[in-house]
């Protein structure tokens, strides 16, 4: 019988090899699924994984990968800091919405003024919106010991209602003939977040995401706050003895993740999305939780995980449109990829051994 045995130290080889193994396994099992659905499995796999990066239209799609990965990375990095400290903010979706709504409100309030300070102020407002929304669970947790999972999750629904109110009410485009939705920022250059290099898909959100990843890496590996975050997650009691204030830590982690989610929302609404609409949010806040863990809560891992997720979205869409696959089949495929990625990760810290004897010895 196979038994798991913990490695003395995590395997460096498997650390890098597991994602590859997982992707290969997904291709095999996914290929079987697609074959069963009557599609050519090789064509589907190629469309999902190869075409967006190297295919005929890669000049456009590569940039789109960045557009899609940017908000995921930005949100996931903030979440990862909290997750490391054992703080469960699962309401990033709400903070993302509020960042967009607050930031857009500031920009639209001064429409059509042209001033180069408008966009930076909007960015701050967006970060503030997300931060303030995250402060609600943070303060309730530190003041009243209220569980942050519930509060942050419930506030997503509240934020969605506020979004609907914004789109049909206070941010509605006065020239929109009564239709819901705000003005489009692409027609308001002073407040817009355009592509910085044409065709690259890179806008300020992508830049911020990549810079944040580096900063977060430095924070975690070099800075005292990063040390405290890691300590609080691994050994909460020890952290307290080391003078780590749980209150400050909650405020810091929730605040940071909220602000980053808010930033992501602001960059999205002023750039790729263009406007506040009823269905502005598309689940980045929840997907980012997966991205955070796929990246093993490590900022650089998150960057890779973000791009991988983006690839499955963009490539999956291609497969769906061009090969007539139902969108649900792509969803299943994504789910399988995640399962395999999460499952083979075990090889990094454990090895499989034959025989039952080792386990009982290990238990002692």
């Amino acid at each position: 019988m196979l038994r798991l045995e913990k490695r003395p130290t995590p395997s460096r080889f498997w650390l890098y090899a597991t994602p590859v193994v997982a992707v290969v396994l997904t291709m095999i099992v996914g290929g079987i699924l697609f074959a069963l659905m009557g599609k050519n499995p090789f064509e589907v796999i190629r469309t999902i994984f190869w075409d967006p990066v190297f295919g005929e239209f890669a000049f456009y799609l590569r940039g789109q990968l960045l557009v899609k990965a940017g908000p995921l990375i930005l949100i996931a990095i903030g979440l990862a800091l909290g997750f490391r400290a054992g703080i469960w903010n699962i309401g990033a979706e709400g903070q993302y919405i509020m960042g967009a709504v607050v930031g857009a409100s500031v920009g639209l309030a001064v429409f059509p003024t042209d001033n180069r300070l408008i966009f930076p102020v909007m960015v701050l407002a967006g970060a503030f919106g997300g931060w303030a929304w995250a402060m609600i669970p943070a303060i309730l947790k530190t003041r009243f010991n209220t569980n942050e999972i519930l509060v942050s999750l419930m506030l997503v629904y509240v934020a969605q209602t506020i979004l609907a109110k914004a789109a049909t009410g206070f941010l509605k485009n006065p020239e929109g003939m009564g239709f819901p939705g705000s003005r489009n920022f692409s027609s308001y250059p002073a407040a817009a977040n355009p592509e910085l290099i044409a065709g690259s898909g890179l806008h300020w959100g992508g830049v911020t995401a990549l810079v944040t990843a580096v900063l977060a890496y430095i924070l975690l590996s070099r800075h005292i706050a990063g040390y405290q975050i890691k300590l609080a997650g691994q050994a909460p009691r020890a952290a307290r003895f080391h003078g780590v204030s749980p209150t400050r830590l909650v405020m810091l982690c929730m605040g940071l993740s909220g602000a980053l989610a808010g930033l992501a929302g602001l960059f999205e609404v002023t750039g790729p999305a263009g406007q506040i609409s009823i269905d502005f949010n598309t689940g980045y806040g929840f997907t980012a939780i997966i991205v955070a863990f796929l990246g093993r809560l490590n900022p650089l891992g998150i960057v890779l995980a973000g791009f991988l997720m983006a690839l499955t979205y963009v490539g999956g869409e291609m497969a769906s449109t061009n090969l007539g696959l139902p969108a649900a089949a792509i969803q299943v495929f994504q789910g399988m990829l995640l399962f395999f990625l999460l499952a083979v990760d075990v090889l990094t810290n454990y090895r499989f051994r034959l025989g039952a004897g080792a386990a009982s010895a290990g238990a002692k």
Binding site: P189, E195, D279, F280, A327
Partner: protein, 363 residues
């Protein structure tokens, strides 16, 4: 703006290579593409658009190729999907949700030789963008007639999704028609704040029924309100919305509004094939066949059925407009003078209740 123009030049060459020069002369083969906001299994809005797409395929066979993408979020994702489709050689792209409006126009600018057809919007910023919509409110007038005559409690209900013009049209038209045949009728509006949440839609229907409402119209996507009405054992009736919802015949579903996009899709793709395609802004209703009134069942007395069918036929013949003055707004201010009919602009941007409807519009 520079990103748009620069990318446009990059993409221009490609799109020319695909669709260029095939204009007035007609085409041998058309690739028609559809962007859907929900899954084709939603049984409502997207399902009906997909039926239209299938009708195109059936009509033209090998001369058309159909592509579609389900569950495309509005915003950045829509723009990417549209660009992919245009790059991939689609000749005509139908974008089937209001939220795709800006994305449709932005992508249309980059692909002047691809035709874009946007449902329910009003922006045609480029010569290759057409818009189309259906006058669903005409169907609501038929339903309102049935509701006004059938209600025993004089309380009728309407489940709204979001306070957007299309929904406001529906509510007002429904109420005016009911009021015309039954001056004592009262309308209760419940806002679900969602297009699709079957359990919540059922709860909304239940709330209406619990307070004495016995005719329910819904402007959300699922059959849940009808299922809830069915539990009342015949005392409550309702209508199919978007699709016929024939599973609930003969009661509680006594009639329905069916979104029928097939004639329009067939006509537009056909025009592209034979070279007669032109930019247009179509807002057809019962007359154009886009809004079908599903069978009025025998659960409705004959005179009610006759009255409802007369409303339907008069609208189709153009002799009756559901919004014919005198009509005042809810706050008592004048809207339409005696005999005047509502201009399309007012309907497209409608953001008020007519006089007599109680309750507030969320703003």
């Amino acid at each position: 703006m520079n990103r748009r123009t620069l990318l446009a030049t990059a993409a221009l060459g490609l799109s020319l290579a695909f669709g260029g020069g095939a204009q007035a002369a007609g085409m041998d083969k058309v690739k028609a593409c559809f962007v859907y906001v929900g899954p084709i299994g939603d049984g409502g809005w997207t399902f009906q658009h997909h039926q239209g797409a299938l009708a195109v395929k059936e009509k033209f066979g090998d001369k058309v190729e159909i592509q579609y993408q389900e569950s495309v979020p509005e915003g950045a994702d829509a723009e990417r999907v549209l660009t992919q489709m245009a790059l991939g050689g689609c000749n005509i792209i139908f974008t089937t949700s209001f939220g795709y409006m800006d994305a449709t126009n932005a992508v249309a600018a980059k692909f002047p030789d691809v035709k874009f057809e946007h449902a329910t919007g009003f922006k045609r910023e480029h010569p290759n963008v057409s818009t189309y919509n259906a006058r669903f409110y005409e169907g609501r007038a038929v339903q309102g007639t049935i509701a006004g005559m059938m209600t025993k409690s004089n309380k009728i209900g309407y489940i709204g999704s979001f306070p957007i013009p299309e929904v406001m049209n529906g509510i007002n038209s429904y109420y005016l028609a009911a009021k015309k045949v039954n001056p004592n009728v009262e309308l209760s509006v419940v806002w679900a704040f969602t297009w699709f949440d079957p359990a919540k839609e059922a709860d909304a229907a239940k709330a209406l029924i619990d307070q004495g409402v016995d005719v329910i119209a819904a402007h959300t996507d699922s059959t849940a309100p009808l299922a809830e009405a069915a539990k009342a054992g015949g005392a409550v009736i309702g209508f199919g919305q978007a699709s016929d919802m024939e599973a609930y015949k003969p009661s509680p579903r006594v009639s329905s509004i069916i979104d029928n996009w097939a004639p329009y899709y067939v006509e537009r793709v056909g025009a592209l094939l034979d070279g007669t395609y032109e930019q247009s802004d179509i807002w057809a209703g019962i007359a154009g066949g886009e809004v079908l009134i599903g069978e009025i069942t025998d659960a409705v007395p004959a005179e009610v059925k006759a009255a409802a069918e007369k409303v339907r036929d008069d609208i189709a013949a153009g002799t009756f407009h559901p919004f014919t003055g005198p009509i005042k707004k809810q706050d008592g201010s004048e809207w339409l003078a005696e005999g005047a009919t509502a201009p399309d602009g007012d309907l497209l941007g409608m953001d008020f209740f007519v006089e007599g409807i109680k309750g507030d519009i969320p703003k």
